[in-house]
């Protein structure tokens, strides 16, 4: 039971970080970034390359720092190349699906070309096991469980208090009015992508420290994150975060009690039932 909760909270933490980035972009721009999983993978590889002796060998903290700086730039570049050219065109949502899917394929194959297919892993930030309330867990797991809410709290404060955060929320609500107040909408879009990529990179480092780093490591989490965003209600950050932990816990429980093959079935059944009752998701706003 304790192990199930730990596994659920770890998955939930990682899903929350990935899905909040997706949700942020959806809220501000009304597009889905299908390269979000590839960004996560890029973040993990950058951290690995900078930290691992097979790369620069500068140690884990340098790797994580480099990853975070790189991700901010990567998010901005991705926006400029794959999204900005189509802002304001009639079918921008559909076009951006195609451009970001293409971007994801490109990044995945680029990683394969540069780093090869051999599995890689990041060092653990903390090692050993800890015991809480009778449940033993890896210290790294505990770190993820603690760190994710801290980062999500920081995100909430950024959105509530900072200049760019307020602008992101304003644009999500009414981009015309935002322009009226002199908000440079395109700049805010870029910031949104940078923040979103940063969150993906952190999630990539967490996954890289717990599991393996491969060029396709972002695909499965991206799919889950889409599920989370729809389940929580499009564009609602609190909804997204609640849904991430719920899905993490349901997934862990069903893997343990029913088996991993039936887990997707269980997840989608819950999702369908919830959407029948609440068509806009847990905390979604009506269209």
């Amino acid at each position: 039971m304790g192990a199930v909760i730990v596994a659920g909270l770890v998955s939930g933490s990682i899903y929350a970080l990935i899905a909040s980035g997706l949700s942020l972009v959806w809220g501000a721009l009304g597009v889905f970034n299908f390269a979000h999983g590839a960004l996560l993978m890029v973040g993990a590889f950058v951290a690995w390359w900078v930290s691992d002796p097979a790369g620069l060998g500068l140690g884990l903290f340098a790797g994580i720092l480099a990853c975070m700086i790189f991700m901010v730039a990567a998010g901005a570049v991705l926006y400029v190349l794959l999204v900005r050219p189509w802002i304001g065109t009639p079918a921008v949502e559909l076009t951006v699906i195609m451009t970001t899917v293409a971007g994801a394929m490109f990044l995945e194959n680029l990683a394969l070309l540069i780093f090869g297919a051999r599995l890689k892993a990041l060092d653990q930030v903390v090692t050993g096991t800890v015991k809480i309330a009778g449940t033993a867990m890896q210290a790294q797991n505990l770190l993820v469980i603690i760190l994710a809410p801290v980062l999500l709290g920081a995100l909430a404060l950024f959105l509530k208090l900072s200049k760019h955060g307020l602008a992101i929320r304003a644009i999500a609500q009414n981009d015309e009015a935002a322009r009226l107040l002199g908000i440079r909408v395109e700049v805010t879009y870029l910031v949104t992508f940078a923040v979103s990529a940063l969150l993906a990179g952190v999630a990539g480092v967490m996954i890289g420290g717990l599991f393996n780093i491969t060029p396709s490591m972002g695909n499965e989490p991206l799919l889950r994150a889409f599920l989370v965003v729809v389940f929580g209600g499009l564009g609602s950050l609190p909804g997204t975060i609640i849904a991430a932990y719920l899905i993490g816990l349901i997934e862990a429980a069903s893997s343990y009690y029913i088996g991993i093959y039936w887990t997707p079935v269980a997840l989608f059944t819950v999702l369908i039932v919830i959407l029948l009752v609440r068509p806009n998701g847990l905390l979604g706003r009506s269209a």
Binding site: K163, L166, A167, R169, A170, Q173, N174, E176, A177, A178, R179, L180, L181, G182, I183, R184
Partner: protein
């Protein structure tokens, strides 16, 4: 020529959409501390004229705009705003899920580039001037129409603009609220902001404006003091409709 007495000079402004000439060779000036009213039927090009001046969301094809000594007809919208020219839209443009104070803060940060103590002081002064201080922590989406209008004006006024373009601020207001709004507009003017006002409610428009300009089919028809405009038979018959004028004289 632009003199220090003139806050804005618009010369030969024009915009076409295909074969439709939405704004056709419109010129006017506003003096510092003046309220210029714009009257005219729906589709006359009044709001389009606002769009052209602020370049939000589009700029003019032809003509020049000199604002406070700067050519602004080729600047980006946020640059124009930073120079001290703000506008409101007719439709609701507040951010429903932000508080009243956050709405105004956005105007101060982005419209005027304020920060720190200066920002807070500007927010406080604006909350006070627009009588929104007791509602500062309410969500904008929960406000009644009258307060929403105040909030839209507050978001523009926090930047302390030298010229404010108001697009039908009185639509949807009852007559008591209209009278309140009239006093508010005069108060804004007295605080040092010149005003260009589009308004369908003619008693209000004629009540606050020093001069009124009449537009129809994208063209400027005439311009003068409200008392003259109200008696111009050409304006009455052709462009404002006899009924509207009767109402005005009854007021």
């Amino acid at each position: 020529m632009t003199t220090t007495e003139t806050i804005i000079e618009v010369r030969g402004l024009g915009k076409s959409f295909g074969s439709l000439v939405a704004v056709d060779d419109v010129s006017f000036t506003i003096r510092r501390g003046e309220i210029l009213g714009i009257a005219g039927p729906n589709g006359a090009g009044k709001t389009t004229l606002f769009n052209l001046i602020t370049r939000n969301p589009f700029g003019p094809d032809r003509g020049e705009v000199v604002f406070d000594g700067h050519r602004i007809d080729r600047l980006k919208p946020h640059r124009i705003m930073r120079l001290g020219l703000a506008r409101t839209f007719q439709k609701e443009t507040s951010f429903a899920k932000l508080t009243v104070e956050q709405n105004i803060r956005l105007g101060g940060v982005y419209g005027a580039g304020l920060r720190g103590a200066a920002l807070q002081a500007a927010i406080e002064a604006t909350l006070e001037m627009l009588e929104l201080a007791p509602l500062r922590n309410e969500l904008a989406g929960s406000l009644p129409v009258f307060q929403t209008k105040h909030l839209m004006i507050a978001s523009a006024m926090v930047a302390r603009p030298r010229l404010l373009l108001l697009d039908e601020p009185a639509s949807g207001l009852n007559s008591i609220e209209q009278a309140d709004l009239q006093r508010l507009i005069l108060r804004l003017r007295d605080s040092g902001t010149s005003i260009l006002l589009i308004e369908h409610i003619l008693p209000l428009l004629f009540g606050v404006s020093e001069r009124v300009m009449v537009m129809d089919f994208g063209k400027k028809l005439t311009e003068g003091p409200p008392s003259e405009i109200a008696r111009d038979p050409q304006v009455i018959e052709a462009y404002l409709g006899g009924k509207a004028m009767e109402n005005l004289h009854a007021t």
